[in-house]
Subunit: 320 residues, 2 copies
Amino acid sequence: MKAFVTGAAGFIGSNVVDRLLEQGHSVTGIDNLSSGHPKFLEGARTSPRFRFIKADLMSKKTLERIVPRETNWVFHFAANADVRHGLKHPYRDLEQNTLATFNLLEAMRKLRVRNIVFSSTGSIYGESTMFPTPEDAPFPIQTSLYGASKLAAEGLISAYVEGFQFKALIFRFVSILGERYSHGHVFDFMKLLKRNPKVLPVLGNGKQTKSYLYIQDCVDAIFRAIKSRWPKPIQIINLGTHEHVTVNESIDVICEELGVAPRRRYAGGDRGWIGDSPFIFLDCRKMLRTGWKPRVNIRDAVRRTVNYLQSNPWLLSARN
Amino acid sequence: MKAFVTGAAGFIGSNVVDRLLEQGHSVTGIDNLSSGHPKFLEGARTSPRFRFIKADLMSKKTLERIVPRETNWVFHFAANADVRHGLKHPYRDLEQNTLATFNLLEAMRKLRVRNIVFSSTGSIYGESTMFPTPEDAPFPIQTSLYGASKLAAEGLISAYVEGFQFKALIFRFVSILGERYSHGHVFDFMKLLKRNPKVLPVLGNGKQTKSYLYIQDCVDAIFRAIKSRWPKPIQIINLGTHEHVTVNESIDVICEELGVAPRRRYAGGDRGWIGDSPFIFLDCRKMLRTGWKPRVNIRDAVRRTVNYLQSNPWLLSARN
């Protein structure tokens, strides 16, 4: 297939690029390198079937020029993934998650490219009242600008499916862990422990409970879903595991791997920050019915993430 | 109170302005007059407590200058309400419903104005599987750019309530009928019948079934909700009646009022247009529990609308 990947130099994007190339596909990847790392594409760049373009989704004209005609699937992973600091710059999520998606959809429409994979998020369930949370949970109320901006993007994509005969697979991810992970709680804790291995500041009370998924399991699921038959041209699919861990349990694994035993200093409260969901746990039966199954459990995924970051210390010291 | 009304020269906005002035409040109304009618504000303009400013929500700088400090409630009714033609200009809904709302929220945040009433829509339930549809119906999939843009605006408002201590009443309206109605199926049918009273083209099969609400009942509900005590600073409230009618039944009433008996020429299909919901019927128990009750039934609301448009023929010939 001919694939077009946005956020190609990011955590999930670059792993999808590698998988596409492994499978023999042709890939055009774009990234504005605002949070992506060119290093993640070092392997991909050795393939003659890969083309990288530094470009920003906010430029419509550029997009219309660079999305190859005859593209079979667009993988849209470019996003502002900084969930926590949304309130500091309220326009950023709207711009980078909603408007960027609109620009991409418009370029696709003009070029008659109609299949899209989109990385949405379990954050759009806000503070769900149903656990595990299924895709058709009670209509939630948004609690973060990040969730709101991803929901808005989902809505746009859905309307393009209905109105312009697009086909879409929208994945609502839990947090992803593993190789090339470069953002999130494991990252933050490792950075803090590097500075001071004796005291670890923890947002909230450490009891926030979340589900995580290992990157290769995530990529497996995406490709399995593309190959599956679905009754409708739009599918919204939760992607996580049937496990969850507390922040404290995550810290246990991280500290064990690093061989440190810091005192934990809790900020208090049952949320890490305003708009944080104290419990994220998705019902993934829809995806499981395709035959997909995650192979790495959460603790091992945390371990792999720690080991990856230890072998790639440049990431921990990168601007972020 | 000090009120700020967007879309003040529109159907719902101008009726809310009048009610606010009747109750003795001070009102600043803005409208870009792209679809609003200055005539709707003729009464309001005679009040010394009313100030009208022609302004567009897309200008952030203007907004920050004109929203009065100490505003108690912002009534945000400005919108692109052209549900049917969203696919002809995909950016319009996003701009006028989502981005305009963002600009307004940002101006409010900067000016420390924090209470907002927002007109959302039953269209965001897409093709619901639950009737009557409650506010916490299963998480719907969007079918129109209009619905998607209003859902995005709801999400933004909700995130501002969580993140910036706003207070919001979000109303998901059915279609509203009555005095100053200037857009929608009664309007379209009357225009068509004026041109040719013998043949009436009907979109779909005429069996699309919708609920409607009379404008004064709608305004009553908004003010009742403002005065009610709610357990949370964000409330999403369906607003409609416990009745519904088919397009054919609506046509019966219109023709009866006009004294015509056209042959109906159906376009066919169970939807009026792509993204049209063949059945809209909202569960309004949440609003009913405040003690509010609609006083005018749908058939009478259609009649009043026909009579209003007959007495205001300038509206039917206005550009639209």
